[in-house]
Amino acid sequence: MTEDRRPRIGVVTFPGSLDDRDALRAVRVMGGVGVGLWHADRDLRGVDAVILPGGFSYGDYLRSGAIARFAPIMNEVRGFAEAGGAVVGICNGFQILCEAGLLPGALIRNRQLRFVCRWVDVRVETSVSPLSADLVAGEILRVPVKHGEGQFVASAGDLDRIEHDGLVVFRYCSPEGATDEAHNPNGASNGIAGLRNEAGNVVGLMPHPEHAVDPDVGATGGQPMFASLLSSSLARVSAA
């Protein structure tokens, strides 16, 4: 690897993806190289990490993310994840990762049964994930959510395991870091906003860090998440 090698971050466009351009822009703004990936392709084009962006893939008419998991590119993403590659699912991407079995649990309609678009605070719970590698537990980041089906749920057994194994990466909280129902925008179990797999290389979250890297349009809680993603995806390249 050369010194000036910039991380190449792939962003998958499914039919109905909406935040794909925004994710590519965020990668670019943070110093990475954004690589557009197409749902029907079977090639990850040598990227160092993969983002499944927000949107309504295939219209989400069956169940959010339920059809996207069958897209040809998802075979490649699965293989990439199994080999330890960093995979990030944002919003609809999180739903797809759960549907594909790469993350536990599921996302159902918001408790209030309405779409919600709002800035929220999340507390970092672990630095073991591609989005939090450069962060320490307890840090608070301001990012927006926008979803109709963002209430994370899991069976009692799964939920116990998730908490016991420290798989929760981000939790909704007050600006001061208190986790309570008043600051939970969708009724997610245990206030879970983001989650990783056991290996720590796959992470899904409902908030949109790609919409929180530019101070002109709001807070910048997404910056440290993207910085973590860029550095951790390069670290893996260096190690390999």
């Binding site: 039919p15 925004d22 779409f115 709001g218």
Partner: protein, 733 residues
């Protein structure tokens, strides 16, 4: 309507109109031809009652690239970029089926913008409902908001603004307007002056055609709603936002690759409208094979295919050599394509179905030769009485603090957070100022520029004086834009009225158009297009005359944009403009006195213009800490909103010797409350004096308190709770 009536009347055509059709054809029309004329000559498509008045609107200006008459207007925003925008009504379908009615309204206006070759970058939704204490109004309100979100959130276009108002006059007839704004390289705009060739193919792409919305425009939007509106649900189209998203991407790719000679959306009047307009604009005719139209279900009859308003369809005009490339782009996006005909020499639109000819009509006659009516007009008899009953000098017993909380908690004034939190306002990453501000600000990607967007209508003012109400709507929209520091460039409008066959409604309409014209001339903001929505009435109840203005402005550097929130302690608060004793048609009069009467505030357009110039000028030197305009509820509400938004209190003394409640709640025009750092106050005073705008120092920002000297005191926390909780509480029943 009864089955024994002649067919043309069943389809909504008059006997005179039938005679005109016979004259155009030189013979009797057949059934299918009659259906084509019925939709194309409907009020909604032909503007037959409004045309003579709309000619009085100013439509030309330095920045105008595309004026009225095309799918959407366009203005030059520099750097070779065109901003495309249009406002439209979907009130009638929404009154019948609120979710789908509002959803398909979003879909339709987005297709208007993409048919110009522009990428949609913002949506705004001006909405009007009956009072929320009635269950049916709550159902309509919740359904419309959910429908706008359900569609808009799925297509990746941020909903950045709009307005929500409540009035008894909208109980049976909600007013649902939608504005879409798009951007395109100016040289790539798909306008009707593109060269279109004889022999070019008519390529239909997108969703299949079904029975939904057969004759929707003529059935729903061209007649008043009668009892049994539920039976018209089949006339409401069903939206598929996923298909729309694919349609956006495919259409823009086709335009970017230069594969098209023309692009037309399919909305009201379906294939008939798209094909006849394409042919007529090119000075050509068309051959149309209805058998080639992909159908959602078998067994559609010719007139159904001709007039179906199935959603998410577009028509491309394609040179035969380019057909393969066009099909490939559509296939990549999973969209089906069908060649349904070609453009031919001569002006005839000939349709065939199953091998047989079914229609042969001059395309021009459908598009351009519809009836034009100069309908009778008469001022309503009760209008003078209502104006004479002015509440400005009525005895008021309500203490000012109680009145203030009542006005602040009125759903017209209170926070609309419940609404806009259901909209994705941030997708595309350009929303510099999100909903809740005077105007929304959306960055133009790759530049420091931003568009400032505002929609405004003044229901009560219009009810009392339609001329003044319309002029106020333009003034407020321009003021909202200017508050951010942006220069108002041009408007689009949606003119919402009752039955044009009533002389009183036609008078309201003519007065309103005059008001818009005068204001737009003074502000140099030409009208680039719009939409007329008549027949907003049911039984004896019509809506207030409600012209809604969609204003588009431009700020050169969005980093200099001025926001409405107070920014911290110790800023000096100024009123720019003057408060007069004007409570006629005010929020205070309705909420506290139960009166919708009196003379609306006077409007001096030149004075208003000077205020805009001042605001734009001082924004360039980064002089202001905040700016927020005075509208419903008056100066007390303006101050309260700036305080709530910033979480910073204030102490002010209202100027002049007006009675307390008049000073607090008067809705005098041409006023803005600004705050400025004390060390720059002289600069502001000098600029105002030079601009010819009167100014008064009101007080200072700071602390948790809200203090109106000599009247009452409260806290930011208390008023914020009233402001934020009002609408959720009403919805809880």
């Amino acid at each position: 309507m009864s089955a024994s009536e002649p067919l043309h009347r069943q389809l909504g055509l008059t006997d005179d109109e039938l005679r005109s059709i016979r004259w155009a054809l030189g013979r009797d029309p057949n059934r299918d031809e009659l259906a084509m004329y019925a939709v194309m000559w409907s009020e909604h498509c032909s503007y037959k009652s409004s045309k003579v008045h709309l000619r009085g609107l100013p439509t030309e200006g330095r920045s105008v690239l595309v004026g009225p008459g095309q799918d959407a207007g366009a203005v030059d925003v520099g750097d070779g970029i065109a901003a495309v925008f249009k406002l439209e009504s979907h009130s009638h379908p929404s009154a019948v089926e609120p979710y789908q009615g509002a959803a398909t309204g979003v879909g339709g206006i987005v297709r208007d913008v993409i048919s110009m070759g522009a990428r949609p970058i913002a949506l705004l939704d001006p909405l009007r409902f009956g009072p929320l204490d009635q269950e049916r109004n709550r159902w309509l309100f919740e359904g419309v908001v959910a429908g706008i979100g359900g569609y808009g959130n799925c297509i990746g276009v941020p909903t950045v603004g709009g307005e929500v108002q409540f009035a008894p006059a909208h109980t049976a007839n909600p007013t649902v307007n939608v504005m879409c704004v798009g951007l395109a390289p100016a040289e790539r705009l798909v306008t009707s002056d593109r060269e279109v060739h004889e022999g070019s193919l008519l390529v239909l792409f997108g969703s299949a055609t079904g029975r939904d919305g057969i004759g929707g425009v003529s059935v729903l939007a061209s007649a008043a709603l009668q009892d049994g509106a539920e039976e018209r649900r089949p006339s409401v189209q069903i939206g598929d936002p996923f298909a729309e998203k694919l349609l956006i991407e495919a259409s823009l790719e086709l335009v970017e690759l230069g594969l098209l000679e023309g692009l037309q959306d399919l909305g009201g009047a379906g294939i008939t409208c798209a094909v006849s307009e394409s042919a007529s604009r090119a000075g050509l005719g068309a051959e149309l094979d209805l058998g080639a139209v992909p159908l959602r279900e078998p067994g559609l009859e010719a007139f159904e295919i001709l007039t179906s308003e199935s959603q998410e369809r577009m028509l491309a005009i394609v040179h035969p050599d380019r057909l393969g490339d066009v099909v490939a782009v559509c296939e990549r996006w999973g969209l089906s394509t069908a060649v349904i005909g070609r453009l031919v020499r001569g002006g005839a639109l000939r349709a065939s179905f199953g091998g047989g000819a079914i229609a042969d009509v001059p395309a021009r006659s459908l598009v351009d030769e519809g009836p034009v009516y100069t309908r009778p007009m008469a001022a309503p008899v009760d209008v003078e009485d209502a104006i004479a009953d002015d509440p400005t000098f009525a005895a008021v017993t309500t203490p000012p603090d109680e009145a203030f909380l009542a006005v602040l908690g009125s759903p017209n004034v209170a926070s609309k957070r419940w609404v806009w939190e259901q909209y994705d306002s941030i997708v595309q990453g350009g929303t510099v100022m999100p909903p809740g501000a005077d105007a929304a600000l959306v960055r133009i990607d790759g530049t420091l520029k931003a568009l400032a967007l505002s929609t405004d209508g003044k229901g009560r003012f219009g009810a009392l004086d339609p001329y003044l109400g319309a002029a106020h709507a333009v003034a407020e929209a321009a003021r909202n834009v200017a508050c951010t520091g942006a220069t108002p460039l041009a408007i689009t409008n949606c003119l919402n009225f009752g039955n044009p066959e009533l002389p009183e409604v036609m008078w309201q309409f003519a007065q309103s158009v005059r008001g818009i014209a005068d204001a737009c001339r003074t502000f140099e903001t030409p009208v680039t297009g719009g939409n007329v929505s008549f027949y907003n009435e049911s039984g004896s109840s019509a809506i207030w005359p409600t012209p809604v203005i969609g204003m588009l402005g431009l700020i050169e550097d969005h980093r200099l944009a001025v926001r409405g929130a107070f920014t911290g302690n110790g800023s000096w608060i100024y009123l720019l403009g003057e408060t007069f004793a004007e409570l006629g048609g005010s929020e205070f009069a309705e909420v506290v006195l139960g009166s919708v009467a009196g003379r609306p505030p006077a409007l001096d357009l030149e004075r208003e213009r000077r205020l805009h110039r001042l605001l734009i000028g001082v924004a360039r030197t980064d002089l202001l800490e905040s700016a927020h305009d005075c509208s419903e509820g008056g100066i007390s509400i303006t101050l309260a909103e700036s305080a709530i938004a910033g979480g910073v209190g204030f102490a002010v003394a209202l100027p002049g010797d007006l009675p307390g409640h008049v000073g607090l709640f008067s809705e005098s025009a041409s006023r803005v409350v600004v705050s400025v750092a004390p060390e720059r106050a002289t600069e502001l005073e000098d600029a105002a004096a030079e601009a010819g705008v009167s100014f008064t120092r009101l007080g200072e920002t700071g602390g948790p308190g809200v203090v109106f000297d000599g009247l009452f005191e409260t806290t930011v926390a208390e008023i914020a709770a009233v402001y934020e909780e009002a609408i959720p509480k009403l919805l809880a029943g």
